[in-house]
Protein backbone atom coordinates (compact mmCIF):
# COMPACT_ATOMS: atom_id res chain seq x y z
CA UNK A 1 0.00 0.00 0.00
CA UNK A 2 1.44 3.36 -1.01
CA UNK A 3 1.33 6.01 1.69
CA UNK A 4 2.84 9.43 2.22
CA UNK A 5 4.16 10.10 5.70
CA UNK A 6 5.16 13.54 6.86
CA UNK A 7 7.06 14.33 10.05
CA UNK A 8 7.12 17.82 11.54
CA UNK A 9 7.62 19.88 14.66
CA UNK A 10 11.04 18.30 15.21
CA UNK A 11 10.04 14.65 14.67
CA UNK A 12 11.87 14.69 11.33
CA UNK A 13 15.08 14.67 13.35
CA UNK A 14 14.29 11.12 14.40
CA UNK A 15 14.26 9.99 10.78
CA UNK A 16 17.42 11.53 9.41
CA UNK A 17 15.91 15.00 9.03
CA UNK A 18 13.73 13.89 6.13
CA UNK A 19 10.24 15.36 6.44
CA UNK A 20 8.33 13.57 3.70
CA UNK A 21 8.55 9.85 3.12
CA UNK A 22 6.75 8.08 0.28
CA UNK A 23 6.50 4.54 1.48
CA UNK A 24 5.13 1.18 0.55
CA UNK A 25 3.68 -0.75 3.45
CA UNK A 26 2.63 -4.37 2.97
CA UNK A 27 -0.34 -5.88 4.73
CA UNK A 28 0.65 -8.31 7.41
CA UNK A 29 0.18 -11.93 6.47
CA UNK A 30 -3.39 -13.04 7.05
CA UNK A 31 -4.74 -9.50 7.52
CA UNK A 32 -7.16 -7.80 5.20
CA UNK A 33 -6.60 -4.21 6.20
CA UNK A 34 -3.94 -1.87 7.43
CA UNK A 35 -4.70 0.15 10.55
CA UNK A 36 -2.87 3.04 12.17
CA UNK A 37 -1.78 0.58 14.86
CA UNK A 38 -0.01 -1.48 12.19
CA UNK A 39 1.45 1.61 10.56
CA UNK A 40 2.92 2.96 13.79
CA UNK A 41 4.72 -0.28 14.46
CA UNK A 42 5.97 -0.28 10.85
CA UNK A 43 7.23 3.32 11.21
CA UNK A 44 9.00 2.51 14.42
CA UNK A 45 10.79 -0.42 12.81
CA UNK A 46 11.52 1.08 9.42
CA UNK A 47 11.79 4.86 9.68
CA UNK A 48 12.71 5.94 13.19
CA UNK A 49 16.47 5.86 13.45
CA UNK A 50 16.94 7.24 16.95
CA UNK A 51 15.16 7.92 20.23
CA UNK A 52 11.93 6.04 19.41
CA UNK A 53 10.58 7.08 22.83
CA UNK A 54 10.22 10.62 21.42
CA UNK A 55 7.74 9.27 18.92
CA UNK A 56 5.93 6.42 20.64
CA UNK A 57 4.70 5.46 24.05
CA UNK A 58 3.28 1.98 24.34
CA UNK A 59 1.60 1.08 21.06
CA UNK A 60 0.49 4.65 20.29
CA UNK A 61 2.22 7.95 19.63
CA UNK A 62 3.66 9.76 22.58
CA UNK A 63 1.15 12.19 24.12
CA UNK A 64 1.86 15.58 22.57
CA UNK A 65 2.37 14.18 19.07
CA UNK A 66 -0.48 15.21 16.78
CA UNK A 67 -1.61 12.89 14.00
CA UNK A 68 -3.54 13.94 10.90
CA UNK A 69 -4.84 11.51 8.32
CA UNK A 70 -5.58 13.28 5.02
CA UNK A 71 -5.47 16.58 6.93
CA UNK A 72 -7.98 15.41 9.49
CA UNK A 73 -7.29 14.99 13.23
CA UNK A 74 -7.02 11.25 13.89
CA UNK A 75 -9.08 11.72 17.06
CA UNK A 76 -12.04 11.98 14.68
CA UNK A 77 -11.33 8.78 12.81
CA UNK A 78 -10.71 6.30 15.60
CA UNK A 79 -7.01 6.87 16.29
CA UNK A 80 -5.22 3.49 16.34
CA UNK A 81 -8.19 1.70 14.81
CA UNK A 82 -8.36 3.96 11.77
CA UNK A 83 -8.18 1.87 8.59
CA UNK A 84 -5.82 3.21 5.96
CA UNK A 85 -6.29 3.02 2.22
CA UNK A 86 -4.08 3.48 -0.81
CA UNK A 87 -2.53 6.96 -1.16
CA UNK A 88 -3.47 8.15 2.32
CA UNK A 89 -1.34 10.98 3.70
CA UNK A 90 -0.42 10.74 7.38
CA UNK A 91 1.17 13.68 9.17
CA UNK A 92 2.88 13.48 12.56
CA UNK A 93 3.68 16.74 14.35
CA UNK A 94 5.35 17.08 17.70
CA UNK A 95 4.01 19.86 19.89
CA UNK A 96 6.79 19.37 22.38
CA UNK A 97 9.39 21.73 21.03
CA UNK A 98 9.79 25.23 22.43
CA UNK A 99 7.56 28.10 21.59
Amino acid sequence: MQLTLEFGGGLELLCQSVKIHKVNVDLQAGKEKLTMRDLLSWVRTNLIKERPEMFMKGESVRPGVLVLINDCDWELSGQLDTTLVEKDVIVFISTLHGG
Binding site: E6, G8, G9, G10, L13, R62, P63, G64, L66, L68, I69, N70, D71, C72, D73, E75, L76, S77, T82, V85, K87, D88, V89, V91, I93, S94, T95, L96, H97, G98, G99
Partner: protein, 355 residues
Protein backbone atom coordinates in the same frame (compact mmCIF):
# COMPACT_ATOMS: atom_id res chain seq x y z
CA UNK B 1 0.20 18.34 0.24
CA UNK B 2 -1.60 20.10 -2.59
CA UNK B 3 -1.86 16.85 -4.52
CA UNK B 4 -3.99 15.24 -1.82
CA UNK B 5 -7.42 14.45 -3.09
CA UNK B 6 -10.19 14.77 -0.58
CA UNK B 7 -11.12 11.38 0.71
CA UNK B 8 -14.80 10.68 0.85
CA UNK B 9 -14.83 7.60 3.02
CA UNK B 10 -13.51 9.25 6.16
CA UNK B 11 -15.50 12.38 5.53
CA UNK B 12 -18.85 10.69 5.84
CA UNK B 13 -20.62 11.12 9.15
CA UNK B 14 -18.15 13.69 10.48
CA UNK B 15 -19.70 17.06 9.98
CA UNK B 16 -18.67 20.25 11.69
CA UNK B 17 -20.89 20.71 14.73
CA UNK B 18 -20.82 24.49 14.35
CA UNK B 19 -21.71 25.06 10.69
CA UNK B 20 -23.21 21.61 10.00
CA UNK B 21 -21.93 21.86 6.47
CA UNK B 22 -18.27 21.15 6.07
CA UNK B 23 -16.18 18.16 7.02
CA UNK B 24 -14.84 18.26 10.60
CA UNK B 25 -11.04 18.22 10.71
CA UNK B 26 -10.32 18.76 14.38
CA UNK B 27 -11.51 17.68 17.78
CA UNK B 28 -11.19 20.63 20.14
CA UNK B 29 -9.51 19.62 23.39
CA UNK B 30 -11.29 22.35 25.30
CA UNK B 31 -14.85 21.41 24.34
CA UNK B 32 -14.49 18.06 22.50
CA UNK B 33 -16.42 19.64 19.62
CA UNK B 34 -15.71 18.38 16.12
CA UNK B 35 -15.20 21.31 13.84
CA UNK B 36 -14.18 22.20 10.30
CA UNK B 37 -11.17 24.23 9.32
CA UNK B 38 -13.04 27.50 8.73
CA UNK B 39 -14.97 27.32 12.00
CA UNK B 40 -11.73 26.41 13.78
CA UNK B 41 -10.01 29.57 12.52
CA UNK B 42 -13.02 31.61 13.59
CA UNK B 43 -13.35 30.21 17.13
CA UNK B 44 -9.59 30.14 17.71
CA UNK B 45 -9.16 33.80 16.77
CA UNK B 46 -12.36 34.88 18.44
CA UNK B 47 -11.47 33.29 21.77
CA UNK B 48 -8.14 35.11 21.81
CA UNK B 49 -9.92 38.34 20.95
CA UNK B 50 -12.34 37.74 23.88
CA UNK B 51 -9.42 37.12 26.24
CA UNK B 52 -7.78 40.36 25.10
CA UNK B 53 -10.99 42.38 25.50
CA UNK B 54 -12.25 40.81 28.74
CA UNK B 55 -8.89 41.24 30.44
CA UNK B 56 -8.25 44.67 28.94
CA UNK B 57 -4.80 43.59 27.87
CA UNK B 58 -4.22 46.59 25.58
CA UNK B 59 -5.18 50.23 25.22
CA UNK B 60 -5.48 52.02 21.88
CA UNK B 61 -2.22 53.61 20.77
CA UNK B 62 0.01 51.32 22.81
CA UNK B 63 3.33 50.03 21.52
CA UNK B 64 3.54 46.27 22.04
CA UNK B 65 6.55 43.98 21.69
CA UNK B 66 5.91 40.34 20.86
CA UNK B 67 8.61 38.11 22.35
CA UNK B 68 9.50 36.11 19.23
CA UNK B 69 11.64 32.99 19.28
CA UNK B 70 10.70 31.69 15.85
CA UNK B 71 8.94 28.75 17.53
CA UNK B 72 5.31 27.76 17.10
CA UNK B 73 3.74 29.77 19.92
CA UNK B 74 5.34 33.12 19.21
CA UNK B 75 4.91 32.71 15.47
CA UNK B 76 1.19 32.03 15.84
CA UNK B 77 0.93 34.88 18.37
CA UNK B 78 2.56 37.34 15.96
CA UNK B 79 0.27 36.22 13.15
CA UNK B 80 -2.96 36.25 15.16
CA UNK B 81 -2.21 39.48 16.98
CA UNK B 82 -1.46 41.41 13.80
CA UNK B 83 -4.62 39.96 12.28
CA UNK B 84 -6.80 40.89 15.28
CA UNK B 85 -5.18 44.33 15.50
CA UNK B 86 -6.31 45.01 11.93
CA UNK B 87 -9.69 43.33 12.18
CA UNK B 88 -10.81 44.82 15.48
CA UNK B 89 -8.90 48.09 15.19
CA UNK B 90 -6.99 47.77 18.47
CA UNK B 91 -4.80 50.65 17.29
CA UNK B 92 -1.61 48.94 18.45
CA UNK B 93 1.92 49.40 17.14
CA UNK B 94 3.33 45.87 17.09
CA UNK B 95 7.00 44.89 17.12
CA UNK B 96 8.87 41.60 17.15
CA UNK B 97 11.51 41.29 19.84
CA UNK B 98 14.02 38.46 19.73
CA UNK B 99 16.87 37.46 21.96
CA UNK B 100 20.04 36.11 20.38
CA UNK B 101 21.59 33.89 23.03
CA UNK B 102 24.52 33.11 20.79
CA UNK B 103 23.90 29.40 20.22
CA UNK B 104 25.35 28.32 16.91
CA UNK B 105 23.20 25.90 14.97
CA UNK B 106 20.11 26.71 16.99
CA UNK B 107 19.38 30.36 17.61
CA UNK B 108 21.01 31.56 14.43
CA UNK B 109 18.62 29.30 12.50
CA UNK B 110 15.55 30.25 14.49
CA UNK B 111 16.41 33.94 14.08
CA UNK B 112 16.24 33.40 10.33
CA UNK B 113 12.64 32.29 10.88
CA UNK B 114 11.90 35.46 12.84
CA UNK B 115 13.46 37.54 10.07
CA UNK B 116 11.11 35.89 7.57
CA UNK B 117 8.19 36.59 9.93
CA UNK B 118 9.27 40.24 9.99
CA UNK B 119 8.66 40.41 6.24
CA UNK B 120 5.64 38.07 6.14
CA UNK B 121 3.71 39.95 8.82
CA UNK B 122 5.18 43.40 8.19
CA UNK B 123 6.27 43.82 11.83
CA UNK B 124 9.54 45.62 12.66
CA UNK B 125 12.06 43.34 14.40
CA UNK B 126 14.55 44.13 17.15
CA UNK B 127 17.18 41.60 18.16
CA UNK B 128 19.12 41.94 21.41
CA UNK B 129 22.08 39.64 22.00
CA UNK B 130 23.65 38.20 25.13
CA UNK B 131 27.01 39.15 23.67
CA UNK B 132 26.06 42.84 23.53
CA UNK B 133 24.24 42.89 26.86
CA UNK B 134 26.50 40.68 28.94
CA UNK B 135 29.69 40.22 26.93
CA UNK B 136 29.14 36.46 26.73
CA UNK B 137 27.41 34.21 24.22
CA UNK B 138 25.82 30.96 25.42
CA UNK B 139 28.41 29.10 23.35
CA UNK B 140 31.14 30.79 25.41
CA UNK B 141 29.29 30.23 28.68
CA UNK B 142 28.85 26.52 27.97
CA UNK B 143 32.52 26.25 27.04
CA UNK B 144 33.33 27.59 30.50
CA UNK B 145 30.71 25.95 32.71
CA UNK B 146 29.75 22.81 30.82
CA UNK B 147 26.26 21.47 30.32
CA UNK B 148 25.12 21.31 33.90
CA UNK B 149 23.64 24.69 34.83
CA UNK B 150 23.65 26.34 31.45
CA UNK B 151 19.85 26.58 31.35
CA UNK B 152 19.90 28.59 34.58
CA UNK B 153 22.19 31.17 33.01
CA UNK B 154 20.19 31.26 29.84
CA UNK B 155 16.84 31.63 31.61
CA UNK B 156 18.00 34.42 33.91
CA UNK B 157 19.70 36.29 31.09
CA UNK B 158 16.77 35.91 28.70
CA UNK B 159 14.30 37.39 31.12
CA UNK B 160 16.39 40.55 31.51
CA UNK B 161 17.30 40.65 27.84
CA UNK B 162 13.61 40.81 26.91
CA UNK B 163 13.05 43.66 29.35
CA UNK B 164 16.03 45.57 28.01
CA UNK B 165 14.98 45.01 24.42
CA UNK B 166 11.48 46.18 25.30
CA UNK B 167 12.94 49.33 26.88
CA UNK B 168 15.01 50.00 23.75
CA UNK B 169 11.87 49.69 21.64
CA UNK B 170 10.09 52.02 24.08
CA UNK B 171 7.11 49.70 24.20
CA UNK B 172 4.34 49.83 26.78
CA UNK B 173 3.97 46.05 27.11
CA UNK B 174 5.59 42.79 26.22
CA UNK B 175 3.45 39.84 25.12
CA UNK B 176 4.69 36.27 25.18
CA UNK B 177 3.38 33.09 23.58
CA UNK B 178 3.00 31.05 26.78
CA UNK B 179 0.03 28.76 26.24
CA UNK B 180 -2.40 26.94 28.54
CA UNK B 181 -0.25 23.80 28.62
CA UNK B 182 2.81 25.86 29.65
CA UNK B 183 0.88 27.55 32.44
CA UNK B 184 -0.59 24.30 33.77
CA UNK B 185 2.92 22.88 33.78
CA UNK B 186 4.25 25.90 35.68
CA UNK B 187 1.47 25.65 38.28
CA UNK B 188 2.41 22.03 38.93
CA UNK B 189 6.12 22.76 39.11
CA UNK B 190 5.67 25.68 41.46
CA UNK B 191 3.52 23.53 43.74
CA UNK B 192 6.11 20.76 43.68
CA UNK B 193 8.92 23.21 44.39
CA UNK B 194 6.93 24.97 47.08
CA UNK B 195 7.57 28.26 45.35
CA UNK B 196 4.70 30.28 46.79
CA UNK B 197 5.78 33.59 45.27
CA UNK B 198 5.85 32.23 41.75
CA UNK B 199 2.76 30.10 42.25
CA UNK B 200 0.75 33.17 43.10
CA UNK B 201 1.81 35.08 40.00
CA UNK B 202 2.28 32.35 37.39
CA UNK B 203 -1.41 32.22 36.50
CA UNK B 204 -1.82 35.99 36.18
CA UNK B 205 -2.51 36.97 32.61
CA UNK B 206 -0.60 40.20 33.17
CA UNK B 207 2.44 40.47 35.43
CA UNK B 208 4.89 43.18 36.33
CA UNK B 209 2.36 45.99 36.27
CA UNK B 210 4.30 47.73 39.02
CA UNK B 211 7.51 47.45 37.01
CA UNK B 212 8.61 49.37 33.93
CA UNK B 213 7.26 46.96 31.34
CA UNK B 214 4.28 44.73 32.11
CA UNK B 215 4.09 41.33 30.43
CA UNK B 216 0.99 39.54 29.29
CA UNK B 217 -0.01 36.18 27.90
CA UNK B 218 -2.88 36.31 25.39
CA UNK B 219 -2.60 32.49 24.93
CA UNK B 220 -3.23 31.78 28.60
CA UNK B 221 -6.32 29.73 27.74
CA UNK B 222 -5.17 28.49 24.34
CA UNK B 223 -4.28 24.82 24.01
CA UNK B 224 -0.96 23.87 22.51
CA UNK B 225 -2.72 21.36 20.27
CA UNK B 226 -4.81 24.11 18.71
CA UNK B 227 -1.80 26.41 18.27
CA UNK B 228 0.08 23.70 16.41
CA UNK B 229 -3.00 22.76 14.35
CA UNK B 230 -3.54 26.41 13.47
CA UNK B 231 0.08 26.79 12.39
CA UNK B 232 -0.18 23.58 10.37
CA UNK B 233 -3.40 24.44 8.56
CA UNK B 234 -2.29 28.01 7.88
CA UNK B 235 1.14 26.78 6.80
CA UNK B 236 2.82 29.26 9.13
CA UNK B 237 6.58 29.27 8.99
CA UNK B 238 8.02 28.25 12.34
CA UNK B 239 11.17 26.68 13.69
CA UNK B 240 11.06 23.50 15.73
CA UNK B 241 14.47 22.24 16.66
CA UNK B 242 15.32 21.62 20.26
CA UNK B 243 18.09 23.67 21.80
CA UNK B 244 21.43 21.90 21.35
CA UNK B 245 22.40 22.61 24.94
CA UNK B 246 19.23 21.24 26.39
CA UNK B 247 18.59 17.94 24.67
CA UNK B 248 15.56 16.16 26.11
CA UNK B 249 14.65 19.22 28.13
CA UNK B 250 11.09 18.85 26.95
CA UNK B 251 10.97 15.52 28.66
CA UNK B 252 10.52 17.40 31.87
CA UNK B 253 8.28 15.20 33.91
CA UNK B 254 5.68 17.90 34.53
CA UNK B 255 5.20 18.35 30.82
CA UNK B 256 4.92 14.64 30.30
CA UNK B 257 2.43 14.37 33.12
CA UNK B 258 0.31 17.20 31.67
CA UNK B 259 0.29 15.53 28.26
CA UNK B 260 -0.73 12.20 29.80
CA UNK B 261 -3.53 13.94 31.68
CA UNK B 262 -4.66 15.71 28.54
CA UNK B 263 -5.04 12.43 26.73
CA UNK B 264 -7.31 11.08 29.45
CA UNK B 265 -9.23 14.28 30.02
CA UNK B 266 -8.32 17.36 27.96
CA UNK B 267 -10.09 19.75 30.33
CA UNK B 268 -7.52 18.88 33.00
CA UNK B 269 -5.26 21.61 31.62
CA UNK B 270 -7.82 24.36 32.20
CA UNK B 271 -8.70 22.84 35.58
CA UNK B 272 -5.09 23.01 36.74
CA UNK B 273 -4.89 26.66 35.69
CA UNK B 274 -8.11 27.31 37.62
CA UNK B 275 -6.67 25.58 40.70
CA UNK B 276 -3.58 27.74 40.40
CA UNK B 277 -5.71 30.87 40.20
CA UNK B 278 -7.78 29.84 43.20
CA UNK B 279 -4.82 29.11 45.41
CA UNK B 280 -5.05 31.42 48.41
CA UNK B 281 -1.82 32.26 50.09
CA UNK B 282 -2.12 32.98 53.79
CA UNK B 283 -1.62 36.68 54.47
CA UNK B 284 0.90 35.82 57.16
CA UNK B 285 3.19 34.12 54.63
CA UNK B 286 6.39 36.08 54.31
CA UNK B 287 6.97 36.89 50.67
CA UNK B 288 10.28 38.06 49.22
CA UNK B 289 10.42 41.83 49.06
CA UNK B 290 10.94 43.30 45.65
CA UNK B 291 13.74 45.85 45.45
CA UNK B 292 16.27 46.83 42.84
CA UNK B 293 19.72 45.49 42.06
CA UNK B 294 22.43 47.74 43.49
CA UNK B 295 24.55 47.06 40.47
CA UNK B 296 22.34 47.32 37.40
CA UNK B 297 19.06 48.67 38.76
CA UNK B 298 17.00 45.70 37.58
CA UNK B 299 14.21 44.42 39.87
CA UNK B 300 15.62 42.07 42.48
CA UNK B 301 14.67 40.71 45.88
CA UNK B 302 18.36 40.57 46.80
CA UNK B 303 21.19 43.09 46.89
CA UNK B 304 22.31 42.00 43.44
CA UNK B 305 20.00 40.58 40.82
CA UNK B 306 20.52 37.01 39.71
CA UNK B 307 21.97 38.05 36.34
CA UNK B 308 24.62 40.23 38.01
CA UNK B 309 25.61 37.42 40.40
CA UNK B 310 25.89 34.93 37.54
CA UNK B 311 27.81 37.42 35.43
CA UNK B 312 30.20 38.18 38.27
CA UNK B 313 30.89 34.47 38.55
CA UNK B 314 31.60 34.16 34.84
CA UNK B 315 33.86 37.19 34.75
CA UNK B 316 35.76 36.07 37.85
CA UNK B 317 36.13 32.52 36.62
CA UNK B 318 33.82 31.21 39.38
CA UNK B 319 30.86 30.08 37.32
CA UNK B 320 29.19 28.25 40.20
CA UNK B 321 28.51 31.56 41.89
CA UNK B 322 24.80 32.13 42.05
CA UNK B 323 23.96 28.51 41.37
CA UNK B 324 22.25 27.16 44.41
CA UNK B 325 21.64 29.22 47.49
CA UNK B 326 25.12 30.43 48.34
CA UNK B 327 25.58 34.13 47.79
CA UNK B 328 29.06 34.67 49.19
CA UNK B 329 31.59 36.01 46.73
CA UNK B 330 34.54 34.21 48.29
CA UNK B 331 33.73 30.58 47.73
CA UNK B 332 34.35 28.79 51.03
CA UNK B 333 34.66 25.06 50.92
CA UNK B 334 31.38 24.80 52.80
CA UNK B 335 29.67 27.00 50.26
CA UNK B 336 30.93 24.85 47.45
CA UNK B 337 29.57 21.76 49.16
CA UNK B 338 26.29 23.48 49.64
CA UNK B 339 26.32 24.62 46.05
CA UNK B 340 26.90 21.10 44.88
CA UNK B 341 24.05 19.80 46.98
CA UNK B 342 21.75 22.39 45.58
CA UNK B 343 22.63 21.71 41.98
CA UNK B 344 20.12 18.93 41.63
CA UNK B 345 17.29 21.08 42.80
CA UNK B 346 18.30 24.36 41.27
CA UNK B 347 19.33 23.38 37.80
CA UNK B 348 16.16 22.95 35.91
CA UNK B 349 15.84 22.19 32.27
CA UNK B 350 15.03 25.02 29.98
CA UNK B 351 11.46 25.51 28.91
CA UNK B 352 10.77 29.09 29.88
CA UNK B 353 9.01 28.03 33.04
CA UNK B 354 9.78 31.17 34.99
CA UNK B 355 7.54 33.96 34.03
Amino acid sequence: MAEVEPKQKKASGRQCCICNQRRAVLKRPKTLEQICRECFYAVFEDEIHRVIVDNQLFKPGERIAIGASGGKDSTVLAYVLSELNRRHKYGLDLFLLSVDEGITGYRDDSLETVKRNEIQYGLPLKVVSYKDLYGWTMDEIVKMIGLKNNCTFCGVFRRQALDRGAALLKVDKLVTGHNADDIAETVLLNILRGDIARLSRCTSITTGEDGPIPRCKPFKYTYEKEIVMYAYFKRLDYFSTECIYSPNAYRGFAREFIKDLERIRPRAILDIIKSGEDFRISTSTKMPEQGTCERCGYISSQKWCKACVLLEGLNRGLPKLGIGRSRGLNGHKKDIEQINQMNNIQSKPCGSLDF
